[in-house]
Symmetry: C2
Subunit: 423 residues, 2 copies
Amino acid sequence: MSGPERLTATEAVARLTDGTLTAEALIRACLEQARAGVGINAWAWLDPEQAIAQARAVDRAGRKGRLAGVPVGIKDVVDTADMPTKHGSPIYAGNRPFADAACVALIRAAAGIILGKTVTTEFANRHPGPTRHPHNADHTPGGSSSGSAAAVADFQVPLALGTQTGGSVIRPAAFCGVIGYKPSFGEFSRVGIKMQCHNLDTLGIICRSLEDIALLRGVLVAQQAHEVDRGSAAPRIGFCCTPAWEHADQDTHALLEHVAGVLGRAGATVHEVKLTPADILDHHRRIFEFEAARNYAYEYEVHGEKLSPALRDGLLAPGRSLPLAAYIEAIETAEAFRRNLDDVFTEVDVLLAPSAVGEAPRGLISTGDARFNAIWTLAWTPCLTLPAGNGRSGLPLGIQLIGQRFRDEALLDAAAWVEARLH
Amino acid sequence: MSGPERLTATEAVARLTDGTLTAEALIRACLEQARAGVGINAWAWLDPEQAIAQARAVDRAGRKGRLAGVPVGIKDVVDTADMPTKHGSPIYAGNRPFADAACVALIRAAAGIILGKTVTTEFANRHPGPTRHPHNADHTPGGSSSGSAAAVADFQVPLALGTQTGGSVIRPAAFCGVIGYKPSFGEFSRVGIKMQCHNLDTLGIICRSLEDIALLRGVLVAQQAHEVDRGSAAPRIGFCCTPAWEHADQDTHALLEHVAGVLGRAGATVHEVKLTPADILDHHRRIFEFEAARNYAYEYEVHGEKLSPALRDGLLAPGRSLPLAAYIEAIETAEAFRRNLDDVFTEVDVLLAPSAVGEAPRGLISTGDARFNAIWTLAWTPCLTLPAGNGRSGLPLGIQLIGQRFRDEALLDAAAWVEARLH
């Protein structure tokens, strides 16, 4: 029998608002699910009493905000004044931030409940945390928003925040078989979120329905929520292999070609779109290295011995020696790439691309390859992943839809059209 | 007789390196000057023993870094792990950050000494702190980097960090008769700096020589320092009244026209440059309001009663009700404005414009008008102010030079040519 932990956030808000569900009952159901799935290691911090106390306060106040008592998982690179914030690093053991991040304050002001802090890789980078894939404990859940994706997939929480600098929202969401959404760059406040790369870091949402994206997006951008249009006309779809196509596995190739065919037969126009320049991922890498090497100056200079060698020697050290001129060239190339994309979006409404190279890889050492995501992080375009099948190991595969920059609501409507034709 | 507190940072580094000056002697001279000028109220936090202890450690270690024991004043919106960080707000009373900001870590790694925290207006916005103008206590020093500008002008410290979202580096530096520099947007890390507007906030430098800009810029961008070329050819100068010209006073009009004449007679080509669109300041304002209203969500939602009415009701409340579409339009207009400026810089090497509407205004309630600065903050171009005379009250006036985005070193060279012909 399915309990309230299975509800989407939007469904839960309806029941919390009409009084057929209390925040406390919802939180207790999520906590029970988290207890049952404790081996997944989705949480860096989860204090049941603290969560129940928040729920009772929301119930007492009449569940009036837009989130009305819905719980949210917060990636542990996001500051919370009443919970530790460790950034997945021993350097921040004992860190209790002075203030809530802006996104956390907006969620609380909307009567959302901060269920706990979800596991992140070390500083939202590559060194993994302890989280396991919710469907197969021998596989990675993806990263860096590992705990957020696993907790939402396992029904431990309906909504969670992630951050993406390379592929850290879309990839783990696709691996875990849920929905991930990265908005247009700059729309969601990053105050109180550990900054890795100021030209790339984007706060995103992991959830189980498109309506939930619209709901939480409205809260985070402090505007009325968009109502997802489930009756919109068939979109013009650009099938975008991306310069990374050859790195995708056969399952992914087959899935994307199958979906393009299905959508075309359902009435969408589908034509191929080529991205230029072909070496755009090298420019993403340069910006990543240059910015991270300076943004982590404190950690690198003062606590270098507590950083993973992968981060310290693999990213920050090469970033330190990257010339400023190479960085500037990458920034200018990225700006030209974004203008090219604006031209692409005069011809199509949405791009269709892989969400990842394939299923979640076996093992917990690597959180997987971000190349199908880093392109769109650099592009500053909104994108989302929808669950769309399974690979040879029976683990989920996603498809990625990319919208024009600043046209996030149109992307949600097009995604609703696509989603209805996928299954 | 002039003591070591009068040295520029570059001069001090030379003497610290050749052993004719110790870091402790330099710090003691600066502290003595700060004690004598205590009525200026430049410092939010200054612990002499803590500063001397840092100096002794640098002396013991052989004064080896690029800053070799030079003290730096840090605006109190920048995190320091060993000093309070109050952001000019009672909300942050008792806040002692867990980590140093990236810029502070880079300065310390270069053997710079954090002398103390300089007064900021409330959250680097408009509500003033207690700092007074170093040349006339009845006047504002400008803001928001009030303490940094006043301390550098009064020889309490040779270098200080400021931040600019509207005009918070250039304006106070011009008012106080020192040099202020805002780099190309995005080059200096903002990690650990309270974020007001992610599309505007820029970390800058206040100092007393162009070489000092190059010195500290090298440290902050983690690259070799540029050697300022004092023998460069005469630049092509664009005399840019800006759409704000009518708001400048007669002193400023006369100064700018005089300087343009002097530079032309000295060999520079000078022609007028018009900016489009003329309403660019309205777009700056929209971005400021929209972003600040979300970035200060924690302060607004949780501590609204501790905010100044000017900030809460004058900026954050209107920002909350600004539609997302209006913000997006402003972002897109700003991007077009930047492309227009790139075209302008095919014709000129540097733009000449007012640094402020006039002298530092009388009174401490207002820190002055930012309209001649907000344009260039939005433009993401590097700019600096040079002292260039006095107004009718005998207080300093500056001229502003603006370079092409990402051509900061060329701006420094052109500024050296201009500076040599000003006096």
